[in-house]
Symmetry: C2
C-alpha cells in the first residue's frame, strides 16, 4: 500500500442532537446571505441535483452538492423524504446529512446532521429576501401555510424585521394555532384571516405543499413582498401565474426557479421569461437595485439549493470546533 | 424541537487505513458479482452520476449513488481526482469516501474510506468478467497498462483463474516491472512483449488512460476474452472500434458503456447498437448464455458504477462490525 494512503486526518462530526445548540438563526441568516451573494458573484455554484424515487418505503432520496470557492466550502447534502418514518418508527420524515470535503485535497472533513439545519436554512432564505426586498416600513406579515416548517419561517421573519402584526391562513384552519404560538412567543399579535384579507399584508410568506395556486393577484396589495417557499417540485404551485407576471421576480437560483420552482408555471404559460428572474444575491451584492418603488410587488422564489446547506453546515462546524463540542474522530 | 429529531443512533466508521485489513479480494469479488447480478435482475440500480470540474486544484469531484433493494444497500461514493495531491501534499490523487444510509429510515449509518476500496472493486470487476466469460482453458493472460491500478487487476485475475503465464505491454516499458513483481509474487512467469504478441493471450485486461486505440483486431486471437477497464470518460479509448464490433460485448451498465465507456466509439461509428451490449450480470444470473463458442471474442466494458462501491463498502462494514474493529460513534 502507498504510505500516502495511510496518512491520518480527522473527521468532525456534529450530530443532529447538537445542531440546536450550535446554530443560531443569526448565523443561519448570515451564512445564507453570504452564499447567495457568492452565487450571484460567480464564486459559488450548485451541482446538478440527484433526486430518486427509490421504490422502497415510498422514499425520495438524493444529493444536492455545490462548491463555494469564496468560502472554501465543498460537499453535499444527502438524504430525502421517508413519508412513513413518523408513523412506523417515530422519526421525522425528512432525513438528511451534510458532508463537507477539503477542497484542496478532496478528503472528507465533516459530517453534520441535516434535519434541523434544513429547516433553519429554509427559514433564513425567506428572511434574507425580506431584509433585501420588503419595504422598510412593512408592518403586517401574512403567512400562508401553518405546518411545522411555517413556524420556522415565521420566527425567523419576526426576528429579521419589526413586523407589528401577523395574519395567517391555512387550508386546515385548526393548524393556525402553530403560528399563533410563535407570534405570542415573539410578542406580536396574531389574527387568523381569510385569503382575501391578505390584501392587508405588506409581506407574505407562502409555505405549503400545494399543487394549485392559493394566493391570487386580487389578494395582494401593491408594494407587497412575497416569499414563495413551498414549491420545489414539478407541478407544485402556491401563487397564480399572473401574480408572478406582474411582479419583479427574484430567486435563489434562476435555473431551479424556472424548472421546479414557483416560476415554472408563469414560464410555461409564456407570462415570464427566465431573463425576467434575477438572483437575490445580486441585490445583496448591489449589482441589482432590488425594490425601486413602494408600489412594486416583489417575489422571492426560494427553491432551496445545496449551497445553503453547505454554508450553514460550515458555520455549524466552526461553532462546534471553536466551542470544543464537536466529536472529532481520527480517520 | 421534535423528540423524534433527538433519537440517537450510531455511525459506523471504517477509515481508509483499516480497509486493507477488512477487505479481502474474495469478499470484493463476491460483492461485485452479487451486485452485478442484482442490477441485471432489476433489483439494484445506479443513480445519475454527478461529475464536476470544480475550478480549484484542477480537481474533478462528484457523486456516484445507487440502491440495491435486494441487498438493502443505499448510498453514494463522493470524491474524485485531485491531480496535484501527491506532489503538493503527499496524498494520493484519487480521493473518495463511501456513505451508506439505512434504506428504511433515510438515516446515515456508515462511512467507509473509498481509496483502496475503489482499486479493489475495479480489480474485482475484471476478475468477475474473466470467471464468467473467459474460456475455462485460458492459460495466457495479457496485460495492457502497467500503472498502479494494473497491479490490482493482475493480482485479482491471477487469484480468480489458473493462468500459467502473464505477458505485458505498456507505453512506458520501464513500468512493466510493476507487473513482473506481482507475477513473481503469485509464482507465475512474466514476459514483456510487443503489442502484436498479444495474439498469444487467451484473456486480456486493458487498464490505461489512453485517448486512442491501443489494442487492434489483428492483435487478438479468436476465443479471447478482453476486459476493458480504463475507459470511463468521453474520448478515452483502449481497443479499436472494429474489434468491439466483431466481439460479443458485455458491460457493467449498458447506459454508461454507451456514453462514457469503451463502447462509445463503436456506437458513434454505427458499428454497434446499444441493444448489442449485454449486462455481465445477466450471464451471472444465467439469463444470458455468455460465451457460446471457443472461437468467439468476448469483451467486458467495465466503466465502474456506484453500486460496486456500495456493495464492497457494505461488506467492509459487516467485517469491521463483526470483528469489533469499527469505530462506532453515537450520533
Amino acid at each position: 500500500m502507498d504510505g500516502a494512503q495511510m496518512t491520518q486526518h480527522e473527521l468532525v462530526i456534529v450530530p443532529e442532537g447538537m445542531i440546536a445548540d450550535m446554530l443560531t438563526r443569526k448565523s443561519a441568516f448570515d451564512a445564507v446571505e453570504n452564499v447567495f451573494a457568492a452565487m450571484a458573484a460567480g464564486d459559488a455554484y450548485n451541482f446538478p441535483v440527484v433526486r430518486e424515487a427509490i421504490g422502497h418505503e415510498d422514499a425520495l432520496y438524493g444529493f444536492k452538492g455545490g462548491f463555494d470557492r469564496a468560502g472554501g466550502v465543498l460537499g453535499l447534502k444527502a438524504g430525502g423524504y421517508w413519508p412513513h418514518n413518523l408513523e412506523r418508527r417515530g422519526l421525522i420524515n425528512h432525513q438528511s446529512t451534510v458532508f463537507l470535503f477539503d477542497p484542496d485535497s478532496g478528503r472528507v472533513k465533516a459530517m453534520v446532521g441535516g434535519n434541523l439545519l434544513t429547516a433553519l436554512r429554509t427559514a433564513a432564505a425567506s428572511s434574507v429576501s425580506i431584509r433585501h426586498l420588503a419595504r422598510k416600513d412593512a408592518r403586517v406579515l401574512g403567512m400562508i401555510g401553518a405546518g411545522h416548517q411555517a413556524t420556522f419561517q415565521l420566527r425567523a421573519a419576526l426576528e429579521t424585521h419589526g413586523f407589528e402584526k401577523v395574519i395567517g391562513w391555512n387550508y386546515h384552519p385548526e393548524m393556525l394555532s402553530n403560528l399563533a404560538s410563535v407570534a405570542e412567543e415573539m410578542d406580536v399579535p396574531f389574527e387568523a384571516v381569510d385569503l382575501p384579507d391578505m390584501i392587508r399584508a405588506d409581506a407574505i410568506i407562502t409555505i405549503t405543499s400545494s399543487f394549485a395556486p392559493t394566493l391570487l393577484a386580487e389578494h395582494v396589495s401593491p408594494g407587497t413582498h412575497i416569499a414563495c417557499m413551498g414549491t420545489d417540485t414539478t407541478g407544485k404551485q402556491e401563487v397564480s401565474a399572473d401574480l408572478l407576471a406582474g411582479a419583479t421576480v427574484f430567486a435563489d437560483e434562476v435555473a431551479q426557479s424556472v424548472s421546479i420552482g414557483e416560476a415554472q408555471h408563469a414560464i410555461k404559460d409564456g407570462l415570464l421569461a427566465d431573463t425576467d428572474i434575477h438572483q437575490l444575491g445580486s441585490v445583496i451584492n448591489s449589482a441589482h437595485p432590488g425594490r425601486i418603488s413602494d408600489e412594486q410587488i416583489t417575489v422571492f422564489d426560494g427553491t432551496g439549493v445545496g449551497l445553503q446547506d453547505l454554508a450553514v453546515a460550515a458555520s455549524i462546524v466552526d461553532a462546534a470546533v471553536s466551542s470544543g463540542q464537536a466529536t472529532v474522530v481520527p480517520i
